[in-house]
Symmetry: C2
Subunit: 375 residues, 2 copies
């Protein structure tokens, strides 16, 4: 199946000719954006859909992962006859700015031929979107049929609809939020400190040789991974079950299945992700506050004002077991969209998988997405 899907995908790289002006005040030259497309752009270029990926995602939404070889992260959703139908839509999915799958990020070479590392500028969610708007410009796509994203992808979808209000007819935001809360920031800060505490991080200059801060990155991933699952889901999946043993060892091995699972999640993550990218992308998420952005400073903005100019239809989806971006966050967005007079549908789906529900087998989500995009 992965091979069949792969045939549908085309890989591209956009090179930004002009420097990309960033929210932090700097301009980044020579920005490259790696992206995949699926399906065919129609004659009037009206059937394009951008899918924005989440924190540790990539552009291979429905094609095999370049490192692990696993099927694309949303292959259940994107393909012929699937909810995001490649027979009907022209799908674009780009690696985010700051990422490590071909788009310019901290591992990329700067103008001096050395990796940026921590000289890479701190970016925002809007900067990520900015880099991807360049794809639309290059392809001559005036207006998208829709923008779609879950989690950090949803933040980008919101940012796109707010900042480029004429350029999409619809925005589908799943398991996301209009701003990072103190608890969201706190978990990310633990991850960053875990990476920075690893002596192999070397202030970010670990690209020259040997391994990077794999141990710190694994701990960061473990901490984050807990927030992606629900307490109930973990209980059902693991409970207090032991791993390949019948009795506790009275030692520090991974006696419990949940320990073994988390260790595996941490270790395998280091094979496919750059630690500095993790720092920059989590920072962008923590900085995200759409209301604040509208106000042009710290605090005080009204979220509704972010959507005043938008002509898009919105669809918001939350999951009842998601405690990372709980339903209340989507409700806040729905209220703001109502206040701005934007058409919005909002549904909380019941699914046991916590935040990760948007990536997993939740047939109700398939129906919501298919229905919303068909309009």
């Amino acid at each position: 199946m992965a091979d069949a899907e792969a045939l549908l995908a085309q890989s591209h790289v956009l090179e930004h000719a002009a420097p990309l002006a960033l929210d932090g005040g700097q301009a980044l030259t020579g920005v490259r954006v790696a992206y995949e497309t699926y399906g065919t752009l129609n004659a009037d270029k009206s059937n394009a859909v951008i899918i924005f990926h989440a924190l540790t995602g990539d552009q291979c939404v429905a094609s095999p992962h370049p490192i692990t070889g696993k099927p694309g992260w949303w292959v259940r959703m994107v393909g012929p006859g699937k909810p995001i139908d490649t027979d009907r839509f022209f799908i674009i999915c780009a690696n985010v700015l700051g990422g490590c799958y071909g788009t310019t990020g901290p591992a990329s070479l700067g103008p001096d031929g050395q990796p940026y590392a921590m000289r890479f500028p701190v970016i925002t969610i809007r900067d990520m979107v900015r880099a991807q708007v360049g794809i639309l410009d290059a392809l001559g796509i005036e207006q998208l049929h829709a923008v779609v994203g879950g989690s950090m992808g949803g933040m980008q979808a919101l940012s796109f609809a707010a900042n480029w209000p004429e350029r999409t007819r619809a925005a589908l935001v799943i398991a996301s939020t209009a701003r990072h809360t103190a608890q969201n920031i706190a978990f990310h800060e633990v991850g960053r400190q875990a990476i920075m505490a690893d002596p192999k991080w070397k202030g970010g200059d670990y690209y020259a040789g040997g391994k990077g801060p794999d141990k710190g990155l694994a701990v960061a991933r473990m901490a984050a991974h807990i927030t992606y699952l629900s307490e109930e889901g973990m209980h059902e999946k693991f409970g207090r079950k032991l791993q390949d043993r019948t009795e506790k060892t009275f030692g520090f091995d991974a006696d419990f299945q949940v320990e073994s699972y988390l260790r595996h999640q941490g270790l395998s993550f280091t094979d496919r992700f750059d630690a500095n990218s993790y720092l920059y992308i989590t920072r962008a998420m923590d900085y995200f506050d759409l209301a604040e952005e509208v106000a042009g400073g710290e605090g005080g903005g009204r979220l509704a004002d972010a959507f005043r100019a938008s002509k898009a239809r919105f669809c918001l989806v939350s999951f009842d077991t998601d405690w990372l971006y709980p339903t209340a966050e989507s409700r806040t967005i729905a209220h703001a969209l109502n206040a701005a007079g934007a058409p919005v549908s909002f549904v909380e789906l019941s699914a046991p998988f916590g935040h990760d529900s948007f990536l997993l087998d939740v047939p109700a989500l398939d129906r919501v997405i298919a229905g919303f995009l068909k309009q």
Copy 2:
């Protein structure tokens, strides 16, 4: 106030003459238990109360902390005329086995004169209680007026009531649980991996000189600390407020107050806690499952059976914002006590501080404790 309280405290060390038989099958020789007492034991030795401390607590429940000099961790609850009234009760609070405040733990010297480090046996909550029962034996206290504990202290109180059913007339269990869930284990495993990932941990053999794995321990503490606070409480206290600045720096400094707060929590913790103790105590908590213990093996036990022999009155207190050991965990214990025919009162208190509510200004808790102990 701290000085006045200090006058009431007496410091003691119990030396176990016999080896302490542990749940893991080993026997630990030369066990020392450091404890404080407050108030006066009456003539018939009927007014003694044990307070069990939590994961990172210590015996200085109402006397200045030996390292930080701060007032005792429950000074609001323990003292003359306070809910745990030192004018009326003889209070005992001991550092747990595996701890780092005078009771035998991984930093203690083994029979060969070298620190145990990771040669220290893995212990259980029941082993911690066992070491403290020795204090009662030494003082000739047949039966306690009550055992009291919050969080891990509550686990010890439950273990005491279940395993030494004749030796207390009452058990007060606050913000606790009868078993660690998959999510509880997961958070602890992140902390342990953070410590073990620090090269200064050196397989536990860091006592000889220099600093231990402070960076790893700080990360462990940061991750754990998030679980002690409620999302709402963090939002109210920190929100997205910036730390000593008016604009985001577009860097990796602690821009947000919550980052600064967490970093401080992590760093200051390393001044007062031994990393190996953190490993052993979290392991004991993860192993805790009172129903499983009763069944004598892995899984399958009935929690009610743990309390069949108990003659004690029970009081269970949970907090509505505690997501570490949420109310449902206390309810499970209440149901088991009901099934065992034990007298039990159970109250969920409303407080904004999450799990840490048991340590903070929650007047309703003061009233519950005072009322329960007066009976």
